[in-house]
């Protein structure tokens, strides 16, 4: 495939700019503090939290342990229910499948409920290039689409904007927005009026999938706004997009996920709607789509699955709690990552999907504080995977796309020297003595030192080495 030459995405530069935007930082600080507080209230009972996340993790692990069989079972049951299943290895294939369905349906307008998989696909841009209008209907996604940007959070796409900024945007982009002022309720009502017209007219409705049940062939979607139900009920054709890891074995496996996802994400006991779809409109039914298509997307997931350690990345249920608790994400916001998935889960998922040549910086945008691991409802060892990816980035292997892309000859040489020094007592003694004598003369602007000293003071070597001090105290060399 003619891949866009993997140009490294510069997180450091983008985050520096984000850090200087005080309005952006204020917007994130307020939102993240609120979300963390509300989540904590939901899990006040620590016992319940521990047992529920153990259950949810077991559900996800069981699904992954039988992933190929469950996908086949899902396909069989969806097909039996009258739902058409499509497989896509790449986002380009998924886009082509979507276009074909749209053309067969003679549809020129699609309404879409929130779907992160379609963000991976850049589906909107693709369809617009083919003269098909795609309208995001989740309010946050709608705002982001009006603004011509991308979601900054997987659950709250427009969290980087405040009411004033959104009111300004509406005024610029929507004709009759003059009267709404800066009132969230009035802005919401305006969006309601505009989007209802679109739901009525759209030929295709699109959605994501929160869980697909192999046992029954059921697609589960959760949401608060009702736009997901609109997209999956009003237009004559519904296309659902899912990553191949979204399958669960049994219907009974859904309640643990439905319980932990909204509590972790927004601190609600449950979303307003839990929408379980098992079939298109049946004979005699008066509404619902006549056709349902499910697009099962790989896009690198099967490679993630191949490695037993990295595989845990696929447990994710996309609650976004790791973002809300990340000391990096909460400061720089989602756009600095320039990726469909920002924050901790993005830092381990996106490099595996898009390769370490392009995304080698992402696993380093982490303090390894473990906050994300502590609140993850399915216990993904995010920080361990982060460490693993840092190694993959500098050590060529067949495991991760573009492994070794960040390998640097200088760095390798430094470590080789370090190893040699530490494996010979004589070399060690000579080196430490030399460094304590003249090491402080090294300027802070030395190539490798510069990255560190640009924001920190240069550490000073002590006048006497630890060995010298110990010897003086009469502790013998071993």
């Amino acid at each position: 495939m003619a891949d866009h030459a993997a140009q490294a995405v510069n997180f450091a530069a983008a985050s520096k700019a984000a850090l200087q935007d005080s309005e952006l930082r204020g917007n994130f600080r307020r939102a993240m503090d609120g979300l963390m507080t509300k989540r904590a209230v939901q899990f006040a009972d620590g016992q319940e939290w521990h047992r529920m996340r153990a259950l949810a993790a077991s559900v996800r692990l069981r699904a992954l342990s039988k992933l190929p069989e469950l996908l086949e079972q899902l396909e069989t049951n969806l097909t039996r229910n009258g739902i058409q299943v499509h497989w896509a290895a790449t986002t380009a294939e998924a886009n082509a499948i979507t276009l074909e369905i749209m053309r067969k349906a003679n549809a020129t307008l699609a309404v879409k409920g929130k779907s992160m998989v379609t963000e991976e696909m850049h589906l909107n841009a693709f369809l617009e290039d083919h003269d098909i209008e795609v309208l995001e209907s989740d309010l946050g996604e709608y705002i982001v689409q009006l603004d011509g940007t991308m979601p900054s959070h997987i659950i709250m796409p427009a969290i980087h904007l405040n009411t004033k900024q959104i009111a300004h945007l509406f005024k610029q982009k929507i004709k009759d927005a003059a009267s709404t002022g800066e009132d969230a309720a009035a802005l919401t009502d305006l969006a309601r009026r505009i989007l209802r017209q679109k739901f009525m007219k759209a030929g295709v409705g699109m959605s994501g999938v929160n869980a697909a049940v192999a046992e029954t062939g059921t697609l589960c979607l959760i949401e608060n706004e009702g736009n997901g139900r609109m997209c999956t009920t009003v237009p004559p054709v519904h296309i659902a997009f899912m990553g191949l890891e979204k399958v669960v074995e049994r219907l009974e496996d859904v309640p643990p996920i439905i319980s932990l996802l909204p509590r972790s994400a927004t601190g609600q006991p449950i979303t307003t709607y839990v929408n379980m779809i098992s079939s298109p409109r049946k004979e005699g039914e008066k509404d619902g789509p006549r056709e349902i298509h499910v697009v099962i997307l790989d896009n690198g997931r099967s490679s993630v699955y191949a490695d037993p350690e990295l595989r845990d990345t696929l447990r994710c249920i996309r609650c976004g709690a790791c973002m809300n608790h990340c000391p990096v994400y909460t400061k720089v916001g989602g756009h600095a990552y320039q990726a469909p998935y920002p924050g901790p889960i993005g830092k381990i998922l996106v490099p595996q999907m898009e390769g370490l040549a392009k995304r080698g910086e992402m696993p380093h945008a982490c303090t390894m504080c473990n906050a994300c691991v502590e609140i993850c409802p399915v216990k993904i060892p995010i920080v361990e995977i982060m460490g693993r990816l840092r190694v993959e980035a500098v050590r060529p292997s067949a495991t991760v796309k573009d492994a070794g892309a960040q390998a640097s000859r200088t760095e390798a040489l430094v470590w080789k020297g370090w190893a040699a020094m530490n494996s010979s007592p004589l070399a060690y003694r000579l080196a430490t003595t030399a460094l304590s004598a003249v090491g402080n003369a090294a300027p802070a602007s030395l190539p490798l030192l510069k990255d560190w000293t640009s924001v920190r003071s240069k550490p000073r070597f002590a006048a006497k080495t630890l060995h010298d001090l110990a010897r003086k105290k009469g502790i013998p060399d071993v």
Binding site: L71, E252, A306
Partner: protein, 234 residues
Amino acid sequence: MSDARAAILGTLRRTRDAHPLTPPPSDFTPLAEKQWPPEERLPRIRRLMEAVHTEFLEATEADWPAVVTDFLTREGASTLLYAPETIDGAKLSANTHSPSPPRGEGRGEGDVASSLTLIPYDRPIEDFKQQMFEGIDAGLTGTLGAIADTGSLILWPSAQEPRLLSLVPHIHVALLRADALYDSFWQAMRDGRWADGMPTNALLISGPSKTADIEQTLAYGVHGPKRLVVVIVR
């Protein structure tokens, strides 16, 4: 795209077999333990749902049609979409004589009540989409019960009671029988043996449509109903 299918499943199977994964057992007791004494279920449901702006009315099997039509009339609704083929729908139309005022004691607003027109959902949506979106104030549905754990109504829309009844009208009125209460979603699903046969669409509804996408400010009625009114029928 059967090539993609074979390639994906092949990779998954090969790599899983090379590194099999033994999952820990799934212990559902934390869900099974979510239980409330029968008398606490309804108050809990009410508290949780009222916290997200759901409104509640009390009624009996005898008077719920009047309670519903009175309420809607008072609130200024002029059209009510309902399911004529359900038992509840038949009862509603039998007990509501629009445009003539409905009967019933202690209701001095009969003349006002006459302004509520019942509209049967008796044809495919394609035949009245415009009216559905632009000319309906309220929709009435039954429920299969409610869930104490989260404060949620259970709905299985059907050919008789279509899906959009509970979605497009600005006010969704839902009848909840006071004896159809479950502890948890998990329990309702197991007791009802849902896995044996799922309907076209199964729903949990826990309040009116809402969003907090504009600066975390809660706003109700973004795409679905602006108001959810639960009528507890005893």
